[in-house]
């Protein structure tokens, strides 16, 4: 009810595309300015925005870049009608942005392991930037994708992340380790434990929900905290439509999430199993994502 001191809007803020960066053959990052009435946005790592593509659709997107001048960037993988139309836009074209929404990752004391699977890297990108800025913070990063060409932000990561702290895997083995991030995680656990010493370990992860579910089980059996970012269909982004709710806790992914902790994830029957479509009907995730 109070006036927000930083940029926030629930009505699409029309802004022209300032630049477009090619990340992978099917992913681009779109940059726009998000300064409203002189107020700059403060984006917490893991928060998202709703992106309006006039005449097409409006979709939630993780914020991957937040610059000093109030510019923000989001990475889009060409997977459907809305994202395909975003790929067809040019510099100067107007899109609408509202938000930021969601809780974001809570950066905790201790040792951080940041895991991004495929386009899930877009959600943890700002978190990686943040832990890299905090020189004292001990961390490692695990990046996974189906193939080398799909690895997101790889050049930037290889530049900014000490070699010993960056782990890369590809499903087809076309770059570094062959296999899934969950397998790599298991493999390097002794190393992480050694590096972390007595510190508490937290894994921050985003990627396909099946991957997140496997990571939760891994965390449970190794006494590691997890913060994972989930994706659900949503209309409003601010807690009214109810389509993003996960049962049985009634957690709203848009407001209480998208980042959920182990304690909550362990209580969610829906996690890795069900989501609701745009009609509100519960659908099995297995059939939807695979």
């Amino acid at each position: 009810m109070s006036l927000k001191k930083t940029a926030h809007t629930d009505k699409p803020f029309s802004t022209p595309i300032k630049s477009i960066t090619r990340e992978t053959p099917d992913s681009i990052t779109i940059f726009v300015n998000f300064v409203i009435d002189g107020k700059k946005p403060i984006i917490k790592p893991g928060q998202f925005i709703m992106v309006w593509i006039p005449g097409i659709d409006e979709v939630p997107m993780a914020v991957s870049y937040a610059l000093e001048n109030g510019d923000i960037g989001f990475t889009v993988k060409d997977v459907g009608e809305a994202t395909h139309s975003l790929h067809n836009l040019e510099i100067g074209d107007i899109i609408g942005i509202r938000g930021p929404y969601g809780n974001g990752y809570q950066v905790r004391e201790g040792y951080s392991v940041i895991v991004g699977g495929g386009i899930g890297m877009a959600s943890v990108k700002l978190l990686i930037d943040l832990v890299q800025k905090k020189m004292t913070h001990h961390y490692s990063v695990i990046v996974g994708a189906r193939t080398k060409k799909e690895l997101l932000y790889l050049p930037e990561l290889e530049k900014n992340c000490p070699k010993s702290q960056l782990f890369v895997c590809t499903d087809d083995g076309s770059y570094e380790n062959k296999g899934f991030v969950t397998e790599l995680l298991k493999e390097i656990l002794p190393w992480i434990k050694e590096r972390s010493g007595a510190q508490k370990i937290t894994i921050y992860a985003c990627g396909p929900e099946i991957m997140l579910k496997k990571i939760l089980l891994f965390c449970n059996s190794n006494n590691i905290e997890l913060e994972a970012s989930l994706e659900r269909y949503m209309r409003c982004g601010f807690g009214l439509c109810g389509l993003c709710i996960v049962d049985p806790l009634g957690i709203k992914i848009c407001q209480n999430g998208p980042v959920l902790t182990s304690a909550i994830l362990n209580e969610l029957d829906d996690f890795g199993r069900f989501h609701r479509d745009e009609t509100g009907e519960k659908i099995r995730i297995d059939s939807h994502y695979e």
Partner: protein, 301 residues
């Protein structure tokens, strides 16, 4: 507090279209102080509704939506109704719609069979064809009467404010057998983005809810109170207990909350506790003592 023989543990009811799909959420809302919940409007078959943007916020706690009655269809929703019903002392109202009187009646019947305590007819969604029913007294009578004959549980009818004279519609619904009226549904409205020169919602015209529409809701409840003898459930722009009292004074016996849930579940408890504190301070024992009090002054001046 009771309406049409249904006992509500609190006069606060969840409005249709807000959060109304997940049983767990409905149960949480009850824990925070809702006496009843109204589901999303359910129709005969699964409907995808309109594309996004379908819900946006405007200034000052006011929202514009055109969801297009997206719903999973009654057959997929029956087990959700049964699940919502497992909560003790929570009145479950299922909002229904259809493309003909018979379709309305069939959905209402199936919802009642699945456990609904009451049926709310949506003849007033401003961005769908069902709104053509709620602006016509004869159609309203026909639809309401057909549903009335098919179900035995209490029947509520939600009215549109987008009419010249709401009392004619309310009277038709009452004559056709409605047990209570819900006023108001959203107000037909439009927002245009001046940079792209196009309506923001994918459907264009939508329904306005939130703070801006409260005076419209209060006015319609006020005029209905003088024209019908069945209870009125006030709805539109309630964000604080004072708004609830205003609706009671206008003539409401209970209220529905929707857009205020933008502020999370806690706002329900806040409204609930402050309302009962007010009643205690002013020595009111029942809500019926507050209902319609503003009318005692209408012949003054």
């Amino acid at each position: 507090m009771s309406i049409a023989g249904l006992r509500f543990k609190s006069p606060l009811i969840l409005a249709s279209g807000i959060l109304g799909v997940s049983p767990s959420t409905m149960h949480i809302l009850a824990d925070y102080g809702m006496g009843g919940v109204t589901t999303k409007s359910i129709g005969p078959i699964k409907t995808n509704g309109y594309k996004n943007p379908s819900i946006i916020g405007l200034n000052n706690d006011t929202f514009l939506n055109a969801v297009g009655l997206a719903n999973p269809g009654i057959s997929a929703f029956e087990h959700e109704i049964s699940e919502i019903k497992t909560k003790e002392r929570l009145v479950v109202i299922v909002s229904v719609f259809g493309r003909s009187p018979q379709e309305f009646a069939n959905v209402a019947y199936l919802a009642e069979q699945a456990g609904a305590d009451a049926i709310e007819m949506n003849i007033s969604c401003p961005h769908d064809d069902v709104s053509t029913i709620g602006v016509d007294p004869n159609l309203t009578y026909k639809y309401v009467n057909t549903v009335r004959k098919r179900i035995s549980c209490p029947l509520f009818v939600k009215l549109t404010p987008n009419v010249t004279d709401i009392t004619k519609i309310g009277q038709s619904a009452e004559k056709a057998g409605a047990d209570a009226l819900v006023a108001i549904n959203t107000v037909s409205a439009l927002a245009i983005d001046i940079h792209t020169k196009r309506p923001i919602l994918s459907h264009g015209i939508g329904g306005l809810s939130g703070k801006a529409i409260k005076p419209i809701g209060i006015k319609h409840v006020y005029t209905l109170f003088k024209s019908v003898s069945i209870p009125i459930i006030g709805c539109g722009g309630i964000f604080a207990y004072e708004d609830v009292i205003e609706y009671f004074f206008a003539g409401a016996s209970a209220v529905q909350l929707g857009s205020c849930l933008y502020y999370g579940y806690d706002i329900i408890t806040k409204i609930h506790d402050n309302l009962f504190r007010y009643m205690e301070t002013h020595e009111y024992n029942t809500i019926s003592e507050l209902t319609g009090l503003a009318h005692t002054h209408e012949n003054e001046g």
